[in-house]
Every structure is written in structure tokens, then in C-alpha cells.
């Protein structure tokens, strides 16, 4: 697929339709708002993963625990050998977030549906309101790989360093501090608007085409290199709550093959509310290495 570094991390809509009934394939729809998506219709055989309930600790702000991960994967009937195909609402953001968390907890074969729910519906492929009856499993996961996740102290440590790239994938209006969160998301707002000093603004949507599938590897390389992000140095991605940045984390790690990419899921809703951390609003010229 388009010379990607890890093409096996993506499946096409055609491939998925041909493999819907494979015993070893489990299709998961990961939704931010199932009542606006899965519950209205979904890919036949797909199992709902509710981002708020299943991928997050519902009490403290954190991703699901190792134990919760085992419970979720058991509930959807997966084993460590299962091929998980993820797609979901909101342009695949939350599917990408699930991809990131499932990778942290070591599931071996995870694939993202290229173009996601939107492309499936655009192409008029089969849908159903029927919820599949899944036999649960006892899923055991390996130790978590926390190197894929950045916390606030990790980001503070790299401020001002030129051997790290910070990539802010939010909209230019968010980056420039004109807004911190849309009004309907009051609990995602921040005391301060702007961006983390030194970050490059490369909005997540620049990585996809009009049909929501990913741009070619060459186009993606050029997109990020134009902002000085080449993979030669470690990269930390962030947005507002870590879901759009999971999408870009996927692009950098799996499509471009950058060796060290982590996602700062605390993102702006943590940084912009923290006391004493620096905030920038000015848009700097990108630091691009000369050819």
C-alpha cells in the first residue's frame, strides 16, 4: 500500500469486506459517540468498543489499565493471535487511539481500516443494526510498552531541545490560541490557549485525502519534512485529549516508519491547565534541515 513502512497495519475496505467472516479476524468499531454511529448501523459482525467506557479509566484521567485491557479484549472475543481491525466514528480518531493503547498493551496484529467508517458508507458497503453474539475469551496481555506514551514531565524535559520534535496536530486556530476547545466540550477547555513552545503545527487532516484514506508515503514524508519532522529525532505528538494525535502517531510510526514516536495524551487539556508551564502563541518558521 503506497510504499508505507508497515503496510500490514492498514486494510482496505475491499479487503475487509472479503474477510468479514474469517474466524481469526475481529472487527471493532471504536466510537466516541455510539448513539451517533454504531447503534445506527455498523459493519456486519463488528463489535462496539465505547471509547469513553472501554478505553479510558472512568474514574481517574488515564487510559485503561492492563487488567481492563484484558477484560475488553476478552469481552470482544479476541485472543493474542486475533487480527484486530479497528475503525470508528469521528474520522477514525478514536480507532487510532485504541490502536495506540492496544499497541501499548502488546497486541501483535492490529490493523486500521483505511478510510474508516466514512469510506465504508460512502461506498455503499453492507451495514447492519444487529449486534453480534460473541463468545468471550480469557485474554492475557504482556507487559505494557510505556515508551509509546509521553507524560507531561517527558514533554517538559524536551522543551527547547533540537533533538526532539513536538508535533501539534490541532487546527491552526487552536495552535494560535484563538480557541482552546469548541464550546460544546466544556470539560476539554483550558485555562490558557496556545501551544507548547517549539511545536510544529501539522493538523492531523493533512495526512489524509478527501476520501479519508491516507496520502501516499512520499506525500506524507514531504508534509512532515517541510516542518522539520523527518524521523531522525524522536517525535512527540499531541492535540487536545490525545485522539487526533493518535492518528498522527499512527502515520509517523506505521506509515513512515519513524523509529521513536510517542503520544502525549494529556495534550492541551493538561498542558493548558498546568501551572507554570510555558505557552506560546506565535507561529514560528519551521526548522527545516538543509538538503
Amino acid at each position: 500500500m503506497a510504499d508505507y513502512a508497515h503496510p500490514g497495519a492498514l486494510v482496505t475496505t475491499e479487503w475487509l469486506q472479503d474477510h468479514l467472516t474469517d474466524d481469526n479476524v475481529r472487527v471493532l468499531e471504536v466510537d466516541y459517540d455510539p448513539s451517533s454511529a454504531y447503534q445506527l448501523g455498523h459493519i456486519p459482525g463488528s463489535v462496539l468498543v465505547d471509547w469513553k467506557r472501554d478505553i479510558n479509566d472512568t474514574l481517574r484521567r488515564d487510559i485503561l489499565s492492563h487488567e481492563q485491557f484484558e477484560q475488553v479484549l476478552g469481552r470482544v472475543g479476541a485472543t493474542p493471535d486475533t487480527t484486530l481491525v479497528l475503525y470508528g466514528d469521528m474520522r477514525n480518531w478514536f480507532a487510532a487511539f485504541a490502536f495506540w493503547t492496544f499497541t501499548i498493551y502488546g497486541h501483535a496484529d492490529i490493523r486500521l481500516l483505511n478510510g474508516g467508517r466514512r469510506k465504508w458508507f460512502e461506498e455503499g458497503r453492507p451495514t447492519t443494526e444487529e449486534v453480534p453474539d460473541v463468545a468471550p475469551t480469557e485474554y492475557r496481555a504482556p507487559q505494557a510498552d510505556t515508551s509509546l506514551r509521553a507524560f507531561l514531565p517527558d514533554v517538559k524535559k524536551v522543551l527547547g531541545r533540537d533533538d526532539f520534535n513536538l508535533v501539534d496536530v490541532r487546527s491552526p486556530a487552536e495552535f494560535k490560541g484563538e480557541i482552546s476547545a469548541p464550546p460544546e466540550y466544556a470539560n476539554e477547555g483550558a485555562q490558557r490557549a496556545g501551544h507548547i513552545p517549539g511545536a510544529a503545527n501539522i493538523p492531523w487532516a493533512q495526512a489524509i485525502k478527501d476520501d479519508d484514506t491516507f496520502k501516499s508515503a512520499d506525500e506524507l514524508r514531504q508534509l512532515y519534512a517541510a516542518q522539520g519532522v523527518t524521523g531522525d529525532t524522536p517525535v512527540i505528538t499531541y492535540c487536545r485529549i490525545g485522539e487526533r494525535s493518535s492518528h498522527t502517531w499512527f502515520v509517523l510510526r506505521y506509515l513512515l516508519g519513524f523509529p521513536t514516536v510517542s503520544n502525549y495524551d494529556g495534550s492541551w487539556s493538561e498542558w493548558g491547565n498546568s501551572v507554570g508551564v510555558p505557552v506560546e502563541k506565535e507561529v514560528r518558521e519551521p526548522a527545516v534541515a538543509s538538503a
Partner: protein, 85 residues
């Protein structure tokens, strides 16, 4: 369309706009608009995205809203939902 046309929408929603900032799902905007309708009033939703049109149709069926219009105008799906009188 005359001023007394009962199928004239009191609001038109462009569901294709403003997705980049991680705002509400498109259908949530339809639900909010519908909640503000009086009996017999009509809301129009427009989108070039098939997923949005699918969601409006399925939601209308599940929610008991009357889907009184569902047509294609160029690239746009134009759907009208009416709150039952």
C-alpha cells in the same frame, strides 16, 4: 415555496463544516436542532458525506422523527425531518 409552506425548514444545518477541531458528531447537531422544534416544524440537514445522511435516516427512524425529504442536490444529500404534530 410560500411563506405558509408547512414543510419549509425553520433551520438548515451544514453537517459537512467544521470537523477539524474535534467538535460534536454531526448527528448531535441534528438532535439539538430537532429538540428545539415545535410540533409540525421542520429541520433541514445538508451534507456531502454519505455517513451523515445514513445517520440522519437511521436516527429519524429510531427516534420517531418524520423524514419528509431525502434528495440529492449536486454533491449534497438534503434531508428534512419533521417533529410529528
Amino acid at each position: 415555496m410560500g411563506a405558509d409552506d408547512v414543510s419549509a425548514p425553520i433551520a438548515v444545518l451544514d453537517l459537512g463544516a467544521a470537523e477539524q477541531e474535534c467538535g460534536d458528531p454531526a448527528l448531535e447537531r441534528v438532535r439539538r436542532g430537532y429538540a428545539g422544534l415545535g410540533p409540525g416544524q421542520v429541520l433541514e440537514a445538508r451534507s456531502p458525506i454519505a455517513e451523515h445522511a445514513f445517520a440522519v435516516r437511521a436516527w429519524a427512524r429510531q427516534a420517531g422523527a418524520e423524514l419528509i425529504g431525502d434528495e440529492r442536490v449536486g454533491r449534497l444529500a438534503v434531508l428534512r425531518v419533521r417533529r410529528p404534530a
